[in-house]
């Protein structure tokens, strides 16, 4: 009998009650170990660039604007929220927050930028020139220092040794000038 089966259906439907969440109207939190948008603690960050080197999507771009200032740009548009940056950070300056409500109309809303002041030499008082390191260090470079922060792209023009004309061609690079000049 189809009518009895309908009654059976009604009884079955009444048993669990209403399961639909009222989500966009009522708040809902992510589970405990959920990895959402990463958050940087700029007071802890050393500027080692480990996160930029290990990001699988290369979504963290790094550039030395001048010897004193290193800019770290997190372009969240292609972030896969793998949590590798938080794992690799030696100072635990990156935390994966449970934020997931990241829907936007423009991708620039997802970006985070850090301006880091780099360490100075105790003898001369200037910052270390990170471009001219020894040959072994240069082999380990993946070229993250030559990323284009304005276009939010990774430039693949890595050279074996530092060449100022390549650097000038790949980015809008401004060397700091002295006060007197």
């Amino acid at each position: 009998m189809w009518i009895t089966s309908k009654f059976k259906q009604i009884v079955l439907a009444l048993k669990p009650g209403r399961v639909t969440l009222g989500y966009p109207l009522t708040p809902r939190t992510a589970p405990e170990n959920f990895r959402g948008r990463p958050a940087w603690d700029h007071t802890k960050c050393l500027g080692c660039g480990g996160c930029a080197d290990h990001c699988p999507a290369r979504t963290i771009l790094l550039r030395d604007v001048c010897p004193e200032i290193r800019v770290l740009l997190y372009d969240g548009s292609r972030c896969t929220y793998c949590g590798r940056c938080a794992e690799i950070c030696p100072e635990k300056a990156i935390v994966m927050t449970p934020d997931f409500e990241l829907a936007t109309g423009s991708r620039t809303d997802l970006a985070q930028s850090l301006e880091l002041f780099m360490l100075t030499c105790s003898r001369c008082g200037r910052c270390y020139d990170m471009e001219n390191r020894n040959a072994v260090d240069r082999l380990g470079l993946r070229g993250y220092r030559y990323d284009n922060l304005e276009a939010r792209t990774v430039l693949r023009r890595t050279t074996e040794r530092f060449e100022p004309d390549v650097l000038a061609a790949t980015e809008t690079f401004e060397r700091p000038t002295r006060m007197e000049e």
């Binding site: 966009p24 409500e101 985070q112 930028s113 850090l114």
Partner: protein, 176 residues
């Protein structure tokens, strides 16, 4: 503004077409999850349709690969005129891990004019719901760019000190 326009253009119900352009099926499963009674989107009049010709919005998942690029463009052209495109997942938003691979066009924005981005790998069903609710004007946008600075740039600081000294030179003269 876009939300207001969307409210005006789609006053009653939004029929969505789900377009997979080479996704790993993670985002597709989350989209299907949104359509289940648990996250019931039919409350907002959202319904999944099988053809782009019936659709108002396209849910694009996956970094648009080279073989699917012409098909995605044709599906977009087949949709009737007031149309929205949602990029779902980090692949559709910015290309994901494959943003500069030879056989991937690098995200949905390179193929189609995208209106809303829903990042996540995969995004939670709640995140997709949030994005659709944002398009319908039910919720406010929460994402905003963050800028952090460790210290002020020393050059700027010294210039500012100089300017401050110049500006307050009168106190020096008063002392004399």
């Amino acid at each position: 503004m876009l939300a207001k326009l969307a409210k005006k253009a789609f006053p009653k119900s939004l029929w969505v077409y789900h377009c997979n352009s080479g996704a790993c099926n993670g985002c597709d499963i989350e989209i299907l999850n949104v359509l289940t009674p648990y996250y019931d989107v039919e409350r907002f009049g959202i319904k999944l349709v099988g053809s782009p010709r019936h659709a108002d919005a396209m849910l694009l998942s996956g970094a648009v690969t080279r073989p699917t690029l012409p098909l995605v463009k044709r599906a977009f052209e087949a949709m009737p005129a007031p149309k929205l495109v949602f990029g779902i997942g980090s692949c559709a938003v910015g290309g994901g891990c494959w943003f500069d691979t030879y056989n991937v066009s690098g995200g949905g924005a390179t193929a189609l004019p995208m209106d809303y981005y829903i990042p996540g790998c995969p995004p939670r069903p709640e995140a997709i719901l949030f994005g659709v609710a944002l398009a319908l004007g039910l919720v406010d946008q929460k994402a905003a760019p963050v800028e952090l600075k460790q210290v002020e740039f020393p050059l700027d600081a010294s210039l500012r000190t100089q300017a401050w000294q110049d500006r307050n030179a009168i106190y020096k003269w008063l002392k004399d």
